[in-house]
Symmetry: D2
Subunit: 185 residues, 4 copies
Amino acid sequence: MNNKLTLAPELEVTDWLNRDAPLKLSELRGKVVVLHAFQMLCPGCVIHGIPQATLIHELYNNNEVQVIGLHSVFEHHAVMNKDALSVFVNEYRLQFPIAIDKPTTGKDIPVTMEKYQLRGTPSLVLIDQDGNIRLNHFGRLNDMQVGNYIGRLLSTGSNINDINRNNSSKGGPEIGKYDTNGCII
Amino acid sequence: MNNKLTLAPELEVTDWLNRDAPLKLSELRGKVVVLHAFQMLCPGCVIHGIPQATLIHELYNNNEVQVIGLHSVFEHHAVMNKDALSVFVNEYRLQFPIAIDKPTTGKDIPVTMEKYQLRGTPSLVLIDQDGNIRLNHFGRLNDMQVGNYIGRLLSTGSNINDINRNNSSKGGPEIGKYDTNGCII
Amino acid sequence: MNNKLTLAPELEVTDWLNRDAPLKLSELRGKVVVLHAFQMLCPGCVIHGIPQATLIHELYNNNEVQVIGLHSVFEHHAVMNKDALSVFVNEYRLQFPIAIDKPTTGKDIPVTMEKYQLRGTPSLVLIDQDGNIRLNHFGRLNDMQVGNYIGRLLSTGSNINDINRNNSSKGGPEIGKYDTNGCII
Amino acid sequence: MNNKLTLAPELEVTDWLNRDAPLKLSELRGKVVVLHAFQMLCPGCVIHGIPQATLIHELYNNNEVQVIGLHSVFEHHAVMNKDALSVFVNEYRLQFPIAIDKPTTGKDIPVTMEKYQLRGTPSLVLIDQDGNIRLNHFGRLNDMQVGNYIGRLLSTGSNINDINRNNSSKGGPEIGKYDTNGCII
């Protein structure tokens, strides 16, 4: 057991797309959960983040890795509403479940985004089989790095302390670099 | 212990580039070894394989992952000799150690290529920290899949039985598909 | 003079972005006009069409080539309204003038789209220095072909009969092929 | 007639690939000639230049545009000999005629390269229908710019003075920028 790990807070969601019943993180224990936070009009999400989430969804077995899109709108709320998102999801043929982050009364930043302290979109959050947050990354990560993180979690589950601390990556310029297409809060 | 695993045979090499002393697999125990077999005039190697090997070399810490290029010439031997390879490695600014596979008397296929039963170039061989072959793949693999395999090995070392058997990947059309640019024996 | 050429009908537009005064085709005589029809939630537009229009805008001198974006919404009108488009244009940092095609009462297809008989989005319409339509293409064209057409018009103006008939292009599989990301009426 | 234009000097060539009889520029009057100078081990040629030459070859009608590869070796002559080039051309499935630039006794730079005063590889030389040099560019040009130049020549032939002087391109950062992968003399 490792005191440093943080249990991923439950998603607070007003609606789901591509999904009849809501997904609860507490019911996904045993799987790696890939939470991809995006905004439908954020270029970095459309060009990099969403294709990467789609690749994860296609590459991994749904029994082991659950991809969840989280539409966390923190600007231009009126034009990125549920109806617009539904069209977007349909036009881009996204297949994985997508949660609509719950608006916060009187604030731009929605509830789940605030709880996870996301810095903007796209953000990638990896949650291990015990429900702990193992990565919380804003901006662009290359595919090899993402595959590395997920592969690591799939092999070890809760037996490693910290995916970042033990991480063998040197973190070159392409890894986690700030992508100018990302949208910062 | 798993009887099914095969110990990676030692490389049989006539020369090294980017390296003073030869690398022996037996001296790399404790590291994951990424063996990238290529031919300098194989388009699939130049366009996909070598950039991927370079990315692995840049992404991972050399203490944990050792990339080795293996120049396994099985056709047009005269024009892919050591002098030509040296120019190629210099022009493409490759930084990782590159072994020149030992020619087999009277045969086109060089010794190490034969030992590993490679089907052509590019081929990617992953060797775990105990020296066992865990993946032997001909053709193109996407970066996420390669990152997944390496991350898996880094976390578990010899504690998993078979990277392929336990593999959570569904293996979609992009994964391990035959790349027309690959050169088959 | 060539009887076969069609004078480009004037744009019917409810509003302009990136532009104070409306642009009239009749006032653009002497320039090549590149009309790029798109929908902000059409993946083929976002991924191929808009970057190509941006490249044309950056590459050519504004005195000779005028790029105009035409937002021709023929589906999901409610979520691709002016407010949404404004956010889109701002987020994607589009610099060229963008016209909002005028809705047709009781029909999905807007007025200018109907007049030009566009088949969907993205569509590229080239108008010569005399105001004649010289190309009306639905789907993806590669950059070399587009540069070829524009260069041809810049050199000859109205002295050639038909850009397509005289066109030296063989039209291989990449040229004008139907792009699955295109949105057809 | 324009005194400023330079007649393209005849190619001095030791051998041709993909071609039985030699091509003489003097016999290509009436066509636009695209001369693509490269070295088979120059990364900028392999990654950008040769795919672009291939696209030109595929896009235009051979009656109007003649692509000629010019293998102008100015370094590492021993390993970029005719045998090596033949393998390269075959492996990369190049279809257009390729001339081997004639070596200069006692100098690294071959004869045709010297005559054309090329600065390195890849270089793109455009020759109009009257045999005049209209563009002589070292490094990377984007496809749209190349299409623009060729389209311009196809329309006007010898009726324009100078493709560069009349050129409507603003020449942004991507156009003609020095490509670090280019090989300079």
